[in-house]
């Protein structure tokens, strides 16, 4: 069985890579390349997978919430992803890269009986990125 819990955080970012010229960055990332950055209300869905235990749960809600808050939300909520998240300093904070960083932050401290099955992030209601973990 799979359980999915939804979390919300607000963060700013700017998409730009030193590997490209300013013109190329502007062309590639469009408005997301705006020098002063911009922000989103991200929606993060964390899915865990495993058998139902004697308590009738795959995972305790508070244990999952605490882990996600400590490992992810405390680091990203009301932050600038380019400046405040060391894991993204050398990577463009696209939502693809953010999903991968969040997967890593969670698995690094994962102590729950169920397995992390998927990380899904919506940058806006129109853009969603999913990462199935192995």
């Amino acid at each position: 069985m799979r359980l999915t819990r939804r979390y919300h955080f607000a963060a700013s970012h700017r998409l730009n890579t030193d590997a490209l010229t300013p013109e190329e960055n502007a062309s590639l990332y469009g408005k997301c390349n705006n020098p002063f950055g911009h922000g989103h209300d991200y929606v993060l869905d964390v899915s865990v997978e495993g058998p139902v235990d004697a308590s009738g749960q795959i995972v305790g809600r508070e244990a999952l919430d605490t882990l996600v808050e400590q490992q992810v939300l405390d680091r990203v909520d009301h932050r600038n992803l380019n400046c405040d998240l060391p894991e993204l300093r050398d990577r463009v904070p696209t939502t693809e890269n953010l999903a991968s960083v969040i997967e890593d932050l969670l698995t690094r401290q994962w102590s729950l009986p169920a397995r992390l099955a998927r990380v899904r992030i919506s940058e806006t209601a129109r853009n969603t990125f999913e990462l199935e973990t192995k």
Binding site: M1, L3, S55
Partner: protein, 137 residues
């Protein structure tokens, strides 16, 4: 092809194991263990997998599906206190996981055609929490 039908029911529940102390229940279930219960607007998504029938063009008759979901889930559970009024939750803790398993048990024998079968039950307890169950052990 997958076909999904949505249904809603509102119900109260309390997550407590009578074999455990108050403190243990609180540690395990948090606010869900508050003794007098609380309620949710549950949202159920029933997904059927199958091939469209060559004559009717349908994977499953939607009117029939609605009647099955109403008879098996919505009528018995809507505006009820699950622990007191809906077996097996007099003896099984009505976590979202266990409610999803019970809904699967109630539906899967009734959604079985040569061309279609029940694929997944998704149950939202709130907009921020849902489980998916596909009948696995």
């Amino acid at each position: 092809m997958l076909l999904t039908r949505k249904a809603e029911f509102s119900a109260s529940h309390v997550c407590r194991n009578p074999a455990l102390s108050d403190a243990e229940n609180q540690a395990l279930y948090g606010v869900n263990a508050n003794p007098h219960g609380h309620g949710h607007n549950y949202v159920l998504e029933v997904t059927i997998e199958g091939d469209p029938d060559p004559v009717t063009g349908m994977v499953f008759d939607l009117r029939q599906l609605k009647e099955i979901i109403n008879a098996e889930v919505v009528d018995p559970m809507d505006h009820r206190f699950l622990n007191h009024e809906v077996p097996p939750f007099d003896r099984t803790v009505p976590t979202t996981e266990n409610i999803a398993v019970e809904i699967w048990k109630r539906l899967h024998n009734r959604i079985e055609l040569p061309n279609a079968h029940l694929k997944n039950v998704r149950l939202y307890e709130t907009a921020d929490l849902y489980v998916d169950y596909g009948g696995e052990a």
